[in-house]
């Protein structure tokens, strides 16, 4: 039982990582990147071929590299490769395209990528994909399966936290603010001297780097990966997590990811399996998420945890009478109390 939940939560956190990456692109910069899962997949694949031993598969099955390096090199190389790939895609797609056309170009890109990788089997062994990827540190630690599960969970928590910490630094800086201004009104941002193209590209690459990291973790966790999850549908689940959790809010998107990828997942698992339809619970999950997204966008588009508002050092939360500052409000109340006290004193006389 413990094994099961540790495993589910680990996977949920890895999805949370991916969602944080998408939040950089969508929540901060307003980019509708439907190719996100493609970057995650490339991250997974690159990690795999760095960590696996050289390919011994019978031809024509084959994969490149096979360096048998460790976890950290695999992770870093995965992130670098994905960042470079996203730089190329972003440089082309972000040039002139308005939001929805940009989304469509990313879909075209990810579908091309999927076809390319499945057909060009030399790279990553096409359709069957990679498997047998060794688990990080397993040889060194020699833990029991349960122990290893907990170890990997802790490792995932650590990296999720590191990513969260760094991304929050970025979000709360002038860089984050600049991105938000680009998101809200590009022309006005340009009028005040921002090179909107470069800013959007930066956000795109940063978000993709995080995607690469989550991809590496997917591969490390599941030890296998194949190209079925490329379609925009999977990426859209990530968007669902962002909408539900709160686009732009770091904690919100983690919450949203846990909701979509753990809570909803577990709930749909309870549904009876329809005979002859093995994918029924998957399909049902997508239908639920689809309706959920529409509902969230209608009733609470800002999500569970709305984007944190700048308070310029003043304490929150929102004040009833907006024209009186917090301090003035207390002075006002204090003066009223004094007046009442004086009046009752004079009445008492």
């Amino acid at each position: 039982m413990l094994n099961y939940w540790v495993s589910v939560l680990t996977l949920g956190l890895i999805f949370a990582m991916a969602t944080m990456g998408l939040n950089v692109k969508w929540g901060w910069a307003g980019e509708l990147d439907l190719a996100m899962f493609g970057f995650i997949a490339v991250g997974a694949y690159v990690y795999g071929v760095v960590v696996l031993p050289p390919s011994k598969l019978p031809a024509p099955d084959h994969y490149i590299l096979g360096l048998q390096w460790g976890f950290f090199p695999g992770l870093i190389i995965a992130m670098i490769v994905v960042s470079l790939l996203s730089l190329v895609v972003g440089a082309v797609a972000l040039r002139k395209l308005r939001g929805d056309y940009f989304g469509i170009v990313t879909v075209a890109f990810v579908l091309c990528l999927a076809i390319f990788i499945s057909q060009y089997t030399f790279l990553f062994d096409g359709f069957p994909g990679l498997d047998g990827v060794p688990q990080p540190f397993n040889g060194v630690l020699n833990l029991s399966p349960t122990g290893y599960g907990i170890f990997f969970f802790a490792l995932t928590i650590l990296f999720t936290f590191i990513a969260y910490f760094i991304l929050e630094l970025l979000a709360n800086s002038q860089f984050g603010r600049a991105l938000r201004s680009v998101r809200e009104d590009q022309s006005a941002a340009m009028a005040y001297g921002r090179n909107v193209y470069v800013l959007k590209l930066k956000a795109y690459v940063i978000g993709s780097a995080v995607a690469g990291m989550s991809g590496a973790f997917f591969m490390a966790f599941m030890s296998a990966f194949n190209p079925y999850a490329w379609a925009p549908a999977e990426t859209f689940l990530l968007f669902g997590a962002i909408f539900v959790g709160g686009s732009g809010n770091g904690r919100g998107v983690i919450l949203g990811a846990l909701f979509v990828f753990v809570a909803i997942q577990e709930i749909t698992r309870l549904f009876p399996v329809l005979p002859g339809n093995a994918q029924a619970s998957d399909a049902l999950r997508f239908v639920i998420i689809g309706f959920l997204i529409i509902a969230v966008l209608w009733f609470r588009p800002q999500g569970l945890l709305p984007e944190v508002r700048d308070r310029d050092g003043e304490p929150g939360p929102t004040l009833k009478d907006r024209s009186i500052s917090f301090r003035d409000g207390w002075v006002h109340r204090g003066q009223r109390i004094i007046r009442i006290a004086n009046r009752s004193k004079s009445e008492a006389k």
Binding site: D100, L274, N277, A283, V287, I294
Partner: protein
């Protein structure tokens, strides 16, 4: 030369399949300014409903009618129950686009739930191979081209000679102005989605019988090709969609003479990406709204 003409023949057939769908997509776009990501799924609704009919009766006209009917209803519903309410709330374009993606997800998976993921066979007994001049067409190919021609003529007649057609063009051109002139914009938009949806359902049927089988994801696999055709021709311009379909269809088939046929789709995508970056207005340039970005 012989191969080239053969490929041209295939190109015309491919262009026909694409054209029926692309014209519908352009019609929808012209009134709602948002690419309908659920377009492929509406095609599948048409195809699957025709398939259900085909299990019980061999009547092709009935299958056609059913595909049109269900395509129209689903398409109209998407506009009426999802897009219109959000539009009345002044939702941004990008939000509407995301909503069409959500609809696509829901539809695709509902179809998956009800029909399962296994491919369903869809055959039509129109056989025979005919030689028309230098080209060689199968009976199926001729049927497809004929359907495309009929649809295009029908759309032309409707747009030019009916009141709905005039209202549609007015709303597409300038919604506020149309409303002020007494045209009920919402109703016209609804009718457009109904009309275009019917054509979309039919295109799904045609696609299914051409491939010979269908799965819940067949429509979305072709969505980008159809979108490419619409964009090339000038998205929002029904006539442009016809030109765009010819360009895409012929280019795809000609490319198959030199490249492995799996790469046909890359060609279509390449054209799409290039067009969007270089000339998003398409060949017949649409006055792009929301271009202030």
């Amino acid at each position: 030369m012989h191969n080239f003409l053969l490929a041209t023949g295939f190109g015309l057939v491919t262009a026909s399949i694409i054209a029926i769908s692309a014209v519908a997509l352009s019609l929808q776009y012209s009134v709602t300014s948002v690419p309908n990501f659920a377009h492929g799924e509406v095609m599948m609704v048409g195809a699957y409903s025709a398939w259900v009919v085909s299990k019980h009766s061999a009547s092709i006209p009935l299958e056609i009618l059913v595909s049109i009917f269900f395509g129209a209803i689903v398409s109209w519903s998407i506009n009426r129950f999802v897009l219109q309410p959000f539009l009345h709330r002044k939702a941004k374009n990008l939000v509407l686009f995301v909503l069409t993606i959500a609809c696509s997800l829901i539809l695709q998976n509902l179809v998956l739930l009800f029909f399962g993921g296994a491919p369903r066979a869809m055959v039509m007994s129109v056989g025979g191979v005919h030689h028309v001049g230098p080209f060689r067409f199968t009976g199926m190919g001729e049927f497809t081209i004929a359907t495309a021609v009929v649809v295009c003529l029908l759309v032309h007649v409707v747009l030019k000679y009916t009141f709905f057609g005039k209202a549609q063009r007015a709303v597409a051109d300038h919604r506020e102005l149309a409303r002020v002139s007494g045209i009920h914009a919402d109703r016209t938009v609804g009718l457009t989605w109904l009309f275009a949806g019917g054509i979309t359902g039919l295109s799904g049927f045609i696609l299914a019988i051409t491939i010979g089988s269908l799965t819940p994801t067949t429509g979305s696999a072709y969505l980008l090709v159809i979108f490419a055709a619409a964009v090339v021709g000038g998205i929002g311009q029904a006539y442009g969609a016809i030109i765009g379909s010819l360009v895409i269809g012929l280019t795809m088939e000609w490319s198959a003479l030199y490249l492995p046929s799996d790469y046909k789709i890359f060609i279509a995508f390449g054209i799409l990406i290039t067009m969007l970056i270089v000339r998003p207005g398409g060949i017949i340039t649409t006055r792009l709204r929301n271009v202030a970005e």
